[in-house]
């Protein structure tokens, strides 16, 4: 083969690869509504299948274990929807209320222009009379934003005391603008939650459907995968598949254990914090759950969890309902600081103790790959895609590791026996 032919073949191969990758991604994107619950169902089934197997070994029929799993998961969903969601929603509604309040004060903020748009539009064009912010009385729903402003002012004052910033006339406006932006984000989140609620129902329906059938026919799934392997490669194929399934299973179950430990540690620490500052039990439970769930999305997840936790705490104090507003706000600052410290401590504990203990044979994912995967998962599958991204990157990493390390033990040049072996029989043992 000449150099030109080789180059042409390589170019064709690369072009075909790119076209196939683009096609696969567009198919994935097009079918994302269907793919998300199916993938989530298969993933959870893969995590829970050992439980079904273990119960079957103990003499418990498969269908009984599956019913127990199904009922536990449904009860968990019902508990979250009936107890935690209303508590969180109540706080988020406060943001929504504050956002509405802000419309009256700063009209630019709720027009979808965001922080930058608002800053650009800060000075009105010549000839147009400046729109005066409308003063309004503080209402209960304006709590979160005013609390944020208060904390912002406190931080600003502290920085000013140390000479790190100079007092300007616009600092209060800037703080209001930033806090307004945060509340705007949460308003979008509320709107998104409202829009995905029916979709969530469909998701859960399909998710449970896939989960139950994957748990029922786990062996058939495995055999189906094996039937795809050519017979001559069956031994390396079984080895690769089992190694991948086992390693990925260890990783996923490790991930679950890791986040469960994080949930319990954060919950206990939040209960301890509850002794010193005023936060409710449900709030502590919600924040612990948020810290654990967001930790699945590596790198960005913990920061997001910390923000949500702090904002939930900030929104929990209604200044209109307390007599000593200053004392209440001091408590609020302590609580926010406490939540931040807990998140930082739990993250440190995770990196230093939990991860090395739980995931002895770790699947290390490079942060850049992780971020790219989370971004791609977000584009394809939204928040669910972001949560699923890390386990699937780990799956790909496991396959790569099995192929490049474990499979080296095999001589893959197998197939038909060379013809000389049919004739020159030297000896028959």
């Amino acid at each position: 083969m000449t150099g030109n032919q080789q180059l042409r073949n390589l170019t064709i191969a690369i072009a075909t690869g790119i076209v196939l990758a683009v096609l696969s991604l567009s198919v994935l994107y097009g079918a994302r509504l269907l793919i998300r619950p199916v993938l989530a169902g298969l993933l959870v089934a893969h995590i829970l299948y050992p439980v079904v197997k273990l119960a079957r070994q103990g003499g418990v029929p498969k269908w009984i274990t599956i019913i127990v799993i199904f009922l536990s998961m449904v009860s968990g969903c019902v508990f979250v929807v009936s107890s935690l969601v209303p508590a969180i929603a109540e706080e988020i509604v406060a943001f929504k209320g504050s956002q509405e309040g802000m419309v009256e004060q700063q009209p630019g903020l709720s027009t979808g222009k965001g922080l930058v748009g608002t800053l650009l539009d800060a000075s009105p064009p010549a000839g147009v009379p400046e729109e005066k912010p409308v003063k309004r009385q503080p209402v209960g729903s304006d709590v979160a934003r005013s609390n944020l402003v208060y904390i912002g002012e406190q931080i600003y004052k502290t920085l000013e005391r140390f000479g790190l910033v100079q007092e300007t006339e616009t600092h209060t406006e800037m703080i209001e603008l930033v806090t307004g932006y945060i509340t705007e984000l949460f308003t979008d989140l509320v709107a998104w939650l409202g829009s995905v609620a029916p979709e969530g129902g469909q998701f859960l329906l399909l998710f449970f459907f896939v989960l139950i059938f994957a748990l029922l026919d786990g062996d058939k799934f495995y055999k189906g995968l094996l039937s795809l392997i050519p017979n001559t490669y069956i031994e390396p194929g079984i080895f690769m598949l089992r190694k991948t399934i086992d390693m990925w299973g260890y990783y996923l179950r490790g991930l679950i254990v890791e986040n469960l430990i994080m949930f319990f540690v954060s919950f206990v620490l939040l209960l301890i914090l509850k002794v010193f500052v005023e936060i409710t039990f449900i709030m502590a439970l919600s924040i612990a759950l948020i810290i654990a769930v967001t930790n699945i999305v590596r790198i960005v997840g913990p920061a997001f969890g910390a923000c949500v936790g702090v904002i939930l705490v900030l929104a929990s104090l209604d200044v209109g309902a307390v007599e000593d507003v200053e004392a209440a706000r001091r408590n609020l600052m302590q609580a926010s600081f406490g939540v931040l410290c807990i998140v930082a401590f739990v993250q440190l504990l995770d990196s230093v103790v939990i991860l090395p203990l739980v995931m002895r044979d770790q699947v290390n994912i490079h942060p850049v790959i992780c971020l790219l995967g989370i971004f791609l998962g977000g584009v394809i599958g939204g928040i669910v895609g972001m949560i699923l991204a890390v386990p699937f990157i780990a799956g790909a990493k496991v396959i790569y590791r099995v192929l490049t390390v474990e499979m080296k033990r095999f001589d893959m040049q197998i197939g038909a026996v060379p013809s000389y072996l049919n004739t020159n029989i030297v000896s028959s043992a």
Binding site: I234, E235, F239, V417, L421, I425
Partner: protein, 189 residues
């Protein structure tokens, strides 16, 4: 107490009957049940084996496994013929054994988790093998230890048989060699 024990016995027997009835529809059930390695197995263990066996079809001359590759499965020949051989040097083949229907092979290196000591190939078209992986064998021993022990005993029996045959062959070869040496010495003398 006695009533509950009787009930448990009755329940266990009924469960076994149901399991056996359900398995009878499986193509491999009678084949497995008639194999000397599995004939003493409990219905639950047979059900386990049936659900974990993998069926593979080979064409004539297809290589089933290759020398020096890691051992992952042992094979039971369901249909057709196969041979076990080594190639000590290019163009040279030594056939160890020709495997017939119902025979087990490839089990020695699976037990010792070592590499394959020989090659195996199909000798007929439509040669059907039933495979059981070392992962499933370990699981069988964990879940059904009594049946696992029976299987291991059966395999150990086969290994002992191999060893006895090899020892016999070695002795006769030694005797032949000794005789030849004696003849050579007397010829030289």
């Amino acid at each position: 107490m006695a009533t509950s024990s009787k009930f448990l016995d009755w329940f266990s027997a009924a469960k076994s009957r149901t399991t056996l009835r359900r398995m009878e529809t499986d193509d491999n059930f009678h084949f497995i049940r008639d194999n000397y390695l599995f004939e003493q197995f409990s219905p639950a263990a047979v059900a386990f084996i049936l659900s974990h066996l993998i069926e593979c079809r080979y064409s004539n001359n297809d290589l089933i496994f290759k020398e020096e590759n890691p051992s992952i499965c042992f094979f039971i020949l369901k249909q057709g013929k196969a041979e076990i051989f080594v190639t000590p040097s290019p163009g040279v083949k030594i056939v160890y054994e020709t495997v017939d229907r119902g025979q087990l092979f490839g089990e020695v290196s699976v037990l010792s988790s070592s590499s394959r000591t020989a090659n195996a190939r199909a000798l007929e078209n439509d040669t059907v093998m039933l495979l059981m992986s070392t992962f499933d064998l370990e699981e069988l021993c964990r879940v059904y230890p009594v049946d696992g022990l029976k299987l291991l005993r059966g395999i150990a029996g086969r290994i002992t048989e191999y060893l006895a045959t090899t020892t016999r062959k070695l002795r006769s070869a030694q005797a032949e060699l000794h005789e030849l040496k004696h003849k050579l010495d007397s010829h030289d003398g």
